[in-house]
């Protein structure tokens, strides 16, 4: 085995030219082959690529899909985000657990199957869902879970699980997935019919500066959530000094409730790659990277094929599109389970073979990004917009949508509605109109922009979705009046606690404290003063966190405090006699009662 390990690692490191910036890929391959990156493996990898062993551990211990301890040959990862939970994920977990004879978080005694939870895998429109290695299984219930468990125990082959196949390219021979696209509404920009390559051809007929000018005229802003003007980003990257420049596509769609990039990657990857190529031309780059979240590994072979077709057709490689001197190619970088890698500087760290810690800014990626070179990182949908703008022109683009937010936006709609799925709508759509469109009734709350966005109540349903009002990277989660908004907020805080990189104090610890106090209130043990405590703590986390994730992580608490204050007030009460409601004497003496085998004299039943 260890000789085996040694040879394997030697070969893998050789394949990546002993390049330490490819540590992520090396570690992923070792994990896949051996079910872990053991201490021994860390030593061997460090030796091969001339780094320190603790640097390998630094990376391996960061990503959820990598582990030092051995995992099963098959890993079942149950999505436990709020939408899956409301659709019965707990029942599904129970069924898996019973059928496999292990608890969530454990591996079967024969070492073959591991069962664990994972945050949102981008399948909220067909929840509950799970990953079985790279294979996605959707619309689960306990019967399905038992059948799946039975099947993998018998065959040990997850690929047998993908029946029936999903719609569109999900049935492509390189995808073969049961995932459905659920495209509910096509708009004029992303899902409209278009001539392949028209945008790139047009771009190559212009100068790079003219391309950037068109993007600026179109007032295109980032579709990932932050909304930074794309043209400006490109201009900075173009003007920055450096010999190499890089274009990175952020396909680390990790915001719970977002899955529109999954659909683009499945149905319009060429449009996205075309946009990346245009970006390469505009900023003067020869290398693009598609950072694909580990959860979407089932699309990798398909995307690799698209890339190789583009190379064959002269759309990538040397003299792209016949343009002399414009050389550009794209590689895929796989992620390995870390929400924070959706943050652009963390994503760059990950591409460099490091743990996904955000980088210190300044310098900004446009000045010093990937490998300290000027880099632009844009969202999947943004690149699609780019290709369409070049094809149809900036005026066409700005005519759609609202004044401040031109064009359309893809929304990933999930939760309590009849038609969950992807909607391409013009910016400026009212929340109430959207709710009607998706068949949502009795709606009590809408989470706009995922956990890092805000939760709004009916009083805000007349507001509009656009950059100037309710901004969103696409996530729209709908909750009806039977749902408990504070429990949902707590679930979101749990997500941030788990996904914090731990670099800075407020995000690492403040979120744990926010969740503790919120849960205390939910348990009916909060005091009125806890509301001010949460507000102040949330503001400190917001103000002092180092990156965008930390700065938005208290939003589940802050936005419910603002929009659902009554729910908090209902649950809190002033303590009598200055005794803390949160102190639970029964729980505190339970262990001792069990050990001593006698009940408490002082705090028995009547106290």
């Amino acid at each position: 085995m260890s000789e085996n390990l040694g040879t394997f690692i030697k070969n893998v490191c050789h394949k990546y030219k002993k390049d330490k910036t490819r540590l992520m890929d090396i570690a992923c391959e070792v994990q896949e082959q051996f079910g872990c990156v053991s201490g021994k493996a860390m030593d061997l990898i460090a030796g091969e690529i001339s780094i320190h062993r603790v640097e390998v551990e630094n990376l391996v211990s960061f990503y959820a899909f990598l582990s030092k301890e051995p995992k099963g040959k098959i890993v079942i990862r149950l999505c436990n985000d709020i939408i899956d939970e409301l659709n019965g994920a707990e029942e599904v977990a129970k069924a898996f657990s019973e059928e496999l004879g292990i608890k969530v978080g454990q591996t079967t005694a024969d070492g073959k199957i591991t069962l664990e939870y994972t945050p949102c895998i981008g399948m909220c429109d067909q929840a509950p869902a799970a990953m079985v290695n790279d294979v996605i299984v959707t619309n689960l219930n306990s019967d399905k879970a038992r059948k799946i468990a039975h099947s993998i125990k018998k065959h040990g082959d997850p690929s047998k699980l993908s029946a029936p196949l999903g719609d569109g390219n999900n049935a492509n021979e390189l995808v073969l997935s049961m995932v459905n696209n659920n495209i509910r509404q096509k708009g004029e920009v992303i899902f409209a019919r278009h001539e392949q390559g028209a945008g790139l051809t047009k771009a190559l007929s212009l100068s790079p500066v003219e391309v950037i000018r068109d993007i600026k005229t179109a007032r295109l802003r980032g579709r990932g959530g932050a909304g930074f003007p794309t043209g400006m980003k490109w201009e900075f990257a173009r003007q920055a000094t450096g010999t190499n420049r890089y274009v990175i596509c952020n396909a680390d769609e990790g915001e719970p409730g977002t899955f529109k990039d999954r659909v683009i990657l499945t149905e319009c990857p060429d449009l996205m790659f075309e946009g990346m190529t245009i970006a390469g031309y505009a900023i003067g780059s020869e290398t693009g990277i598609l950072y694909l979240r580990g959860e979407y590994a089932y699309l990798r072979a398909f995307l690799e094929k698209i890339l190789s077709n583009r190379r064959k057709n002269g759309m990538l490689g040397k003299d792209v599109g016949g343009k002399k001197g414009f050389n550009f190619d794209i590689r895929i970088q796989m992620g390995a389970g870390a929400y924070i890698c959706g943050e652009e500087t963390a994503l760059i760290s990950s591409c460099e073979g490091l743990r996904g810690d955000p980088k210190t800014r300044p310098p900004f990626p446009a000045q010093k990004g990937y490998l300290a070179s000027p880099t632009t990182v844009n969202n999947v949908e943004t690149f699609c917009c780019v290709a369409r703008i070049l094809d149809k022109g900036a005026p066409w683009f700005t005519e759609i949508g609202s004044q401040g937010s031109p064009s359309t936006k893809l929304l990933s709609v999930s939760g309590d509605c009849k038609k969950p799925g992807v909607y391409e709508v013009p910016f400026g759509i009212k929340v109430s109109d959207l709710l009607k469109m998706v068949g949502a009734e009795d709606t009590a709350a809408v989470q706009v922009g995922g956990p890092s966005g805000q939760m709004i109540g009916p009083a805000d349903f007349k507001r509009t979705i656009c950059y100037d009002d309710l901004a969103t990277g696409g996530s729209i989660m709908i909750f009806n009046s039977t749902r408990d908004v504070l429990r949902i907020a707590s679930k979101f805080m749990e997500f941030f606690v788990e996904e914090s990189c731990g670099y800075c104090t407020p995000c690492r610890t403040g979120n744990v404290l926010l969740k503790e106090r919120l849960d205390r209130i939910i348990a009916g043990k909060g005091e009125p003063s806890d509301l001010d405590y949460l507000q102040e703590l949330g503001e400190s986390v917001k103000v002092s966190s180092r990156c965008g994730m930390g700065q938005t992580s208290p939003n589940p608490v802050l936005s419910t405090l603002k929009n659902f204050r009554g729910q908090y007030e209902k649950l809190t009460k002033r303590s009598k006699d200055g005794l803390m409601q949160s102190f639970d004497i029964k729980a505190a003496i339970a262990d001792a009662e069990a050990i001593a085998g006698r009940p408490s004299e002082k705090f028995s039943l009547n106290s």
Partner: protein, 181 residues
């Protein structure tokens, strides 16, 4: 007018903070001009005789008896001061807080190298208060009004705090009197 009353107690502490109270030296004569001591080890009064102006708590809560006493103090004292690191953060007893209770008890009565316990008995009389799952700082059990850190807080710290609070002045300790050791 009656003098205001002060009560003190030592919960899961070492009485070091009480030693520090006594360490105010001759100022203790001034103190008894200012206040009467109610329930306190200083005068050995076991039960509250009435409402007190100030209660001084040494030690955190490691067992049910501590909780009971602390709750009694909260009921009988207008102002509660957590005095010393054990009261404010659990202190040395809280070092057991990440060890399961059973392990702690077995270590104390069975496994520790210095134990002589030929019959292997773990004391379990009804009179013995049950231990809590961990040691709780006082503010997690009742509302605490003021904190005096230190192990122990210096006599000057305690003196200044008492004088300020008895005269309805804000408690503003100078740099040299806020210490955690």
């Amino acid at each position: 007018m009656d003098k205001p009353k002060v009560a003190t107690t030592s919960l899961a502490g070492c009485f070091g903070c009480h030693m520090s109270i006594l360490d105010i030296d001759d100022r203790i004569l001034k103190l008894i001009e200012l206040v009467d001591f109610d329930k306190s080890p200083v005068d050995d009064i076991k039960n509250f005789t009435g409402q007190c102006a100030i209660g001084i708590i040494e030690g955190g809560c490691c067992n049910e008896e501590n909780v009971h006493v602390l709750q009694e103090f909260r009921k009988h004292c207008n102002i509660l001061i957590a005095c010393g690191d054990c009261a404010t953060m659990g202190g040395i007893p809280a070092m057991r807080n990440n060890i399961p209770l059973k392990e702690c008890i077995d270590e104390a009565y069975k496994n520790s190298p210095s134990v002589y316990n030929p019959k292997n008995i773990t004391p379990n009389d009804k009179e013995l208060p049950l231990l809590l799952n961990k040691v709780y700082p006082c503010q997690e059990v009742v509302k605490i009004d003021y904190f005096l850190p230190g192990c122990p807080p210096s006599a000057d710290t305690i003196w200044q705090a008492l004088v300020a609070l008895l005269n309805n002045k804000p408690l503003d300790l100078p740099y040299k009197l806020i210490k955690y050791d």
